[in-house]
C-alpha cells in the first residue's frame, strides 16, 4: 500500500504539527504553550522538543493549576520540567484561593469558571502572550471540529465561531493587533488513537494515572472519582471502595471520571480504547452541564 516516498500517517501528522509549532515561534513575539500534564500535552511537548532541537524550547509552558489536580500530575509536571529544561509558569487564581473554591461545595460549573477559565484569562493577560498553543483535537467534540488551527481571539479572549478566518493549505494567517491573540492547535488533526499510538511508538512518558491500578474510588454525581486527598467531604469519603481503575483524561480529581480497567500497559490501553464504546470526554463531568456546553465554554475563552 505504502510506497517508500509516502510517510506513514503518524509521520505526516508529526511533520504537520512541527510545521505549526515552528510557524508560531517564527511569527509571534511572545508565545506560550499550555501544559495540562495530560497525554495530549505530553505529545505536544514531545513534538516541540523535536521541532526546535538542538535548541531548547523557544517558549515557556504554562500550567493553570486549579489546585484540585491529582497530586501525581503536579509531581510529574515538575519532573518533566527538570528533565527537559523548559521554562514552566504555574498560575492559580488568587481570588479563587481566597474564596476557597471547591468543586464539591461550589459545583463543577463555578469551579471550572473561576479556577480554570478565569485563571487562564488572568495568566494570559499577565503574560501578554500573542500566541497560546493548546493541545485540543478536532475529534474530541463537535464544536472543535470546526475550529481553525490558528484560531483568532479578540482582546477579551473570545472566539467567534461565525467569523473565523479561512485557513488554506499550510499557510496560516498570524496577523493580529496588540492585545489580540491566536490560539494555536498543533495536534488538531490527530485522533485519540493517533495520540496513543504515537505515545507507544515514541515511548513518551505519561502520568501513571492512565494505567490501571487499585485506587480508592467513590460514586459522585454519576461518575466514579478517585479519593486523592481529604478535601473530599467526609461523608463521601466514607463510601470509598478499592477498585482497579484508570483515567482516560486527567484534570481536577473531583471532576475526572475513572473507568474500571485492567489495562496496565500501553498496548492494553489501546486495545481497551479500540473496543470501548464511550468517547473520551465522557469522563469529564463539565461537558454534561448542558447541550452545546463546550461551544459556550469556548466562546467564553475556555480551551
Amino acid at each position: 500500500m505504502l510506497n517508500q516516498e509516502r510517510l506513514t500517517h503518524l509521520k505526516q501528522l508529526e511533520a504537520e504539527s512541527i510545521h505549526i509549532l515552528r510557524e508560531v515561534a517564527a511569527e509571534f513575539t511572545n508565545p506560550v504553550m499550555m501544559y495540562s500534564v495530560g497525554k495530549d500535552s505530553s505529545v505536544m511537548l514531545h513534538l516541540a522538543m523535536k521541532a526546535f532541537a538542538p535548541s531548547k524550547l523557544p517558549f515557556p509552558l504554562l500550567h493553570v493549576d486549579t489546585l484540585w489536580k491529582f497530586k501525581e500530575m503536579i509531581a510529574f509536571r515538575d519532573q518533566r520540567a527538570k528533565d527537559l529544561g523548559f521554562d514552566l509558569i504555574v498560575h492559580s487564581n488568587p481570588e479563587g484561593i481566597d474564596m476557597n473554591i471547591s468543586p464539591f461545595e461550589h459545583g463543577s460549573k463555578v469551579h471550572t469558571d473561576i479556577m480554570k477559565t478565569q485563571a487562564l484569562k488572568q495568566a494570559l493577560n499577565a503574560g501578554g502572550y500573542d500566541a497560546v498553543i493548546g493541545g485540543a483535537r478536532r475529534d474530541e467534540e463537535k464544536s472543535r471540529a470546526k475550529e481553525r488551527i490558528f484560531s483568532f481571539r479578540d482582546k477579551h479572549h473570545r472566539w467567534d465561531p461565525k467569523n473565523q478566518r479561512p485557513e488554506l493549505w499550510n499557510v496560516y494567517n498570524t496577523a493580529i493587533e496588540k492585545g489580540e491573540s491566536v490560539r494555536v492547535f498543533p495536534i488538531s488533526n490527530w485522533t485519540e488513537l493517533d495520540v496513543w499510538q504515537y505515545i507507544y511508538l515514541e515511548d513518551i512518558p505519561i502520568p501513571s494515572l492512565y494505567f490501571a491500578k487499585e485506587h480508592d474510588v467513590v460514586e459522585y454525581e454519576g461518575t466514579k472519582i478517585m479519593v486523592d486527598d481529604d478535601r473530599m467531604p467526609e461523608a463521601l469519603r466514607k463510601t470509598a471502595k478499592k477498585e482497579m481503575v484508570r483515567f482516560r483524561t486527567l484534570g481536577c480529581y473531583p471532576l475526572t471520571g475513572a473507568i474500571n480497567s485492567t489495562a496496565t500497559t500501553l498496548p492494553e490501553i489501546i486495545k481497551e480504547m479500540l473496543l470501548s464504546t464511550s468517547s473520551e470526554r465522557e469522563g469529564r463531568v463539565i461537558d454534561k452541564d448542558q447541550e452545546g456546553a463546550m461551544e459556550l465554554k469556548k466562546i467564553e475563552g475556555y480551551f
Binding site: M1, L2, N3, R6, L7, T8, H9, K11, Q12, E14, A15, E16, I18, H19, R22, A25, A26, H46, M49, K50, A51, A53, P54, S55, K56, R138, D139, K142, S143, A145, K146, P161, K162, R165, P166, E167, L168, W169, N170, V171, N173, A175, I176, N189, T191, Q197, Y200, E202, P267, I270, K271, L274, T277, S278, S279, E282, E291, G292, E295, L296
Partner: protein, 470 residues
Amino acid sequence: MDIINYLKEHENKDMLRFLTCGSVDDGKSTLIGRMLYDSKMIFDDQLSAAESESKKYGTTGEKIDMALLVDGLQSEREQGITIDVAYRFFATENRKFIIADTPGHEQYTRNMVTGASTADVAIILIDARKGILTQTRRHSFIVSLLGIEHVIVAINKMDLVDFSEEVYKEISLAYGELAKELGIKNTYYIPVSALDGDNVVDKSNHTPWFDGKPLLGLLDSMDIAKEQKEEDFRFPVQYVNRPNLNFRGFCGTIAAGRVKIGDDITVLPSGKTTKVKSIINAGDITEANREAGTKEAYAPMAVTITTEDEVDISRGDMIVHTNSLPRVSNNLKVMLVWMDEKPMTLGRTYDIKRATSVVSGSFEHINYKIDVNTYERTQIDTLELNDIASCKMVLTRPIASDAYKENRLTGSFIVVDRITNNTVGAGMIVGVSRRDEDIAKRIDKHYTDAERALNRYIRENFPEWECKVV
C-alpha cells in the same frame, strides 16, 4: 487479533484527505454520518446524544438522523444546515482519513475552496433524481481549480429511482463530459443511498449491475501517489535555529522533492549558492539524541538544514537545487478567490503570504472573472465575495515561484488585509507575467552581445512569441 501485531500494522497506515461536496438536500452530512457510523468510529455516547437531539430537530422521523452526528455548532443545528468547514476523522485497516466537510450553497464558495486546498480526493454528491445541477458544475470547477486529481461521483438517493442502472449510466456519462471539460484526471462513479447505507461501506444487494467497489472500499484502496516524476527540491525557510555560535540551522518543511548532504543549493531570491552540510529530520529527534542526523530527506518531512558556507539566509527565503531553479519574479499571473465581504480594490496594498514569506503587494489588473456555474469569462474591475478571477499581482519584492499546478505548496498564497488582518483572499500562481525580473535566469547565464541583439530583434518583431528579456 493480537494487539501488538495490530499496532505494528497500524504504524504503517497511510493518510488520505478528502472533501465532500454537495448541498443541503444531497444528503452529504448523512453520507458522512453513515461512513463514520458504519466504520464503527462513532462512539456510543455521541450516538446517544444524537438520539435525544433527533427528537428535537430531526428530519428523518423515527430513524437516527445521521446528519446530526456531524453538524457541529449549536446555532447551525437549529437551522438544520452546516455553515462552515468542519474536519472529521476515521480510520480503516489501511488508512487514516481526514474529511473536510463543507457546505454547498453559493455564498459559501469560500468554505469549499478552503476545504479543497488540503484534499487529495473529492467526493461529489449528485441526487439521482436531479442529475447534474448548477451546483455540480460549481463544485467540480472548484475541485479542478484547487488541483484535486481524483473525483468520486457519489450518485445518491438511488433508492428513490428504484436503483435504476439507466439513471446511473446517464449521470456517469454526463459527468464524464464535464470532467473532460475541466481537465479532472481521474473520475470514479458509485451508486449509493446514504440514508440506507447502500454501497457506502458494504456492497448493496440493490445494485447487482454495479461491479465497482463501495465508497469506503474505494477510498481505502485508491492510489493517490503522485505520478513518479522527479520533483524539483523546494524548501521554504521557516525558522532559523541558532542555539549557539557553532550551529546555524534552517528549519522548514520540504515542499517538494528530496535533498541530501553535499547537494549544491541556491538561496532565493538572493541567488547565493552553497552546499548542504547536514540534515536533521525533526521526526528522528529523541529526548536522548537531540542532534540525530540523516543523509537524505524528502517531502513532506520537517527538517533542519545546515550549510557549508556562512550564507545570509532568513525566513521567507526558498532553498532549491542549483540545477533546478524556479522563476524569481515580483510580477505574477494568478487565479484569485476573493473571500471577504469587502470587495477587492485594484492597486490597494495587501499582505501576500506564500509558504513562509510575507511580502506586500497589490493586484494591478483583472484579466477576467470566471463564472463558477457557466465557466464564462467576463471583464470586470472589482472582485466581490466568492468571485474567482485571473489577475496580475505585483509584489514589492521578488519571490521564487512555481505554478500551482506544479507545486501546491509553493504555488499558493493567501491575501491578508493590512487593516482588518483578515484573510480576504486565496490565490494560485499561474505563471510569471513579466520577463525582466527573472533574476534566477540571470544568475544562471551570461549572454553575449550578439545573443542580446537577437533577443531584442525577436521581442520587437515577434511580440506574439512573448519572448523573455535576457
